[in-house]
């Protein structure tokens, strides 16, 4: 469980990115964080694992207060928070396997990471995860040889091999085409369900947010202006988050496709053998 209490962030430039955010994300909940560019979505998730230092407020992961940890304890706490990035943020010149194993760096010493002699258990888990996302055959390829969707799946493996309690996901689909975006969002959703993970997903695609989350939080200029179920995103709510616009079309389309997605996911779950084929077949129907 993640708890934010009165979280605020003011950058040195004077920009107030977040103002007094209070949120509780229970275990197993996938929460979408929506809002216009510059609303503070990225800042919020970076304040959780303190890649950005919050100026005020507290962050708790379970009973642990992250905001008062020293650097060593913070590093240990970060192991329990997997992060997935917009531009994948894979180390381009390392292989897929090295990228996945880098998720275990917090658990191994310097020499182990230097010589790449990771424990057998970690290596087996890495192969299992790669197989799960359908990239087993890519393990020895260099990361820069992969397509966008493949890279993001490697990014997901890197986050999951940490064996986290929480996933912080920053615009996972912003650089992907619509079909791949859905595959990735579906994959993140399935994996969260499998492991009972809590997740915060920053996303500026309202449609995807509605399709793949149990809860939507709307940010505007660093303030929470909506917190509720995905189907509560009425034109009025969207106007409050993003400003005046004709929202009817967006919302109608969502409801249609939402039903398709549910059907697909049932198909997907009933054929659990080959993950890659499964996702391709499933999205082919949409």
């Amino acid at each position: 469980m993640l708890r934010l209490e009165g979280l605020s962030k003011r950058y040195k430039t004077g920009d107030q990115a977040l103002t007094d955010i209070n949120l509780v994300v229970p275990n197993g909940q996938v929460m979408a964080l929506i809002g216009p560019s510059g609303a503070g979505k990225s800042t919020l998730i970076r304040c959780v694992n303190r890649l950005v230092e919050p100026t005020k407020g507290k962050v708790f992961l379970g009973d642990l207060e992250l905001t008062k940890l020293g650097s060593g304890a913070l590093r240990r706490a970060r192991r329990k928070m997997g992060m997935i990035f917009q531009e994948y943020a894979l180390v381009e010149r390392l292989t897929v396997m090295e990228n996945v194993l880098s998720g275990r760096l917090g658990y191994v010493g310097f020499w182990t990471s230097w010589t790449r002699k990771f424990p057998k258990k970690d290596i087996q888990e890495a192969y299992r995860l790669l197989d799960r996302v359908g990239l087993m055959h890519m393990a020895d390829k260099r990361a820069d040889q992969l397509s966008g969707g493949q890279r993001q799946r490697v990014g997901i493996c890197r986050a999951l091999i940490q064996n986290p309690d929480l996933l912080l996901v920053d615009e996972p689909t912003a650089s992907l085409d619509p079909k791949t975006s859905r595959q990735i969002m579906r994959l993140i959703n399935e994996l969260c369900a499998e492991r009972g993970l809590a997740a915060i997903i920053n996303i500026h695609d309202v449609l995807l947010a509605q399709m793949y989350s149990q809860r939507v939080v709307g940010l505007e200029l660093g303030n929470v202006v909506y917190d509720g179920p995905p189907d509560g995103l009425t034109p009025e709510v969207l106007t409050r988050i993003y400003g005046e616009e004709d929202w009817e079309a967006t919302i109608e389309k969502v409801e249609d496709e939402d039903e398709d997605e549910i059907g697909e996911e049932i198909d997907a779950i009933s054929s659990p053998t080959k993950p890659e084929q499964k996702t391709i077949v499933a999205s082919g129907e949409s």
């Binding site: 010149r93 917090g106 310097f110």
Partner: protein
């Protein structure tokens, strides 16, 4: 303002009138200075020698031909020395330049004070030519290959460290951030996030500098710091022109080979 309102609509020009005039003035002053300097040089030149120059050049040229091929037997050793000076000097420089570069790069320096010291090392190494380093070192460690190696090394630290730290500063920070987010220590972030990104730069800079050092070490002998330059100096002093041409030929071949090797290595890395 570049935007000018005219009767038939707005006009746009690259520069405002005042700025344009200033630029013309700058050109005028520049040309005036160049002309004056030309005149000064002309006054201090002994034109008799200049008129004689083509004949003198032709004279030395004929004395250089044919090169004294048998002299090659005495040149193998100095060529070997020259290669060693360049290679060892580059290796020493890289070993020192890598930590200096990490200390000088804004994103990896442990402290601004350390950065200032690192930048000072870079500047002071770069501001002294390797011939000058050679002169000083011949006095300190005595003439020979050792002085040459250290001179090349000292001169190369600044060059390598500067290019390396610029390479480090240009890396993609999100890749490092992603490694940091896994709970990796600073040393591990360096190992997984930074080193893979700068490795091609490191190799490229090393080979490039080695290529330059081959050329520099051929003249270090002029100040007594070992290598083939020592023979060159001796041959010029004794007016043994056929030996001089042989040495120049050997230097040319060495440089061509080193250039070829460095091009191949750089091609393989990138």
């Amino acid at each position: 303002m570049p935007l000018i309102e005219t009767s038939d609509g707005p006009m746009w020009r690259r520069r405002a009138t005042k700025k344009q005039l200033l630029i013309w003035l700058g050109w005028l002053v520049g040309i005036a200075i160049a002309t004056y300097a030309w005149q000064l040089i002309s006054e201090k030149t002994i034109w008799f020698f200049v008129e004689d120059a083509p004949r003198q050049a032709a004279d030395i040229g004929t004395r250089m031909i044919p090169p004294k091929w048998s002299y090659m037997n005495e040149l193998w050793r100095p060529v070997w020395d020259t290669l060693n000076i360049a290679t060892l000097g580059t290796v020493i420089a890289l070993i020192i330049a890598i930590p200096v570069a990490f200390a000088a790069a804004k994103n990896t320096t442990p402290h601004p004070l350390v950065r200032a010291v690192a930048l000072f090392i870079i500047v002071s190494s770069r501001s002294v030519n390797s011939l000058v380093w050679g002169l000083i070192l011949v006095l300190i460690v005595g003439p020979g290959v050792l002085a040459g190696t250290i001179a090349i090394g000292l001169r190369s630290i600044g060059f390598c460290a500067k290019l390396l730290y610029e390479g480090i500063e240009e890396i993609d920070h999100t890749q490092v951030e992603a490694i940091e987010a896994t709970g990796a220590s600073r040393a591990q972030q360096m190992l997984y996030g930074i080193v893979p990104q700068v490795l091609p730069t490191f190799a490229g800079v090393g080979v490039f500098r080695w290529d330059i050092n081959i050329r520099e070490s051929t003249i270090l002998g002029l100040v007594g710091a070992g290598g083939i330059g020592l023979e060159l100096n001796g041959s010029i002093n004794t007016l043994a022109w056929t030996q001089v041409s042989m040495i120049l030929l050997v230097i040319l071949v060495t440089v061509i080979i080193s250039e070829w090797v460095s091009a191949r290595v750089r091609g393989a890395i990138i």
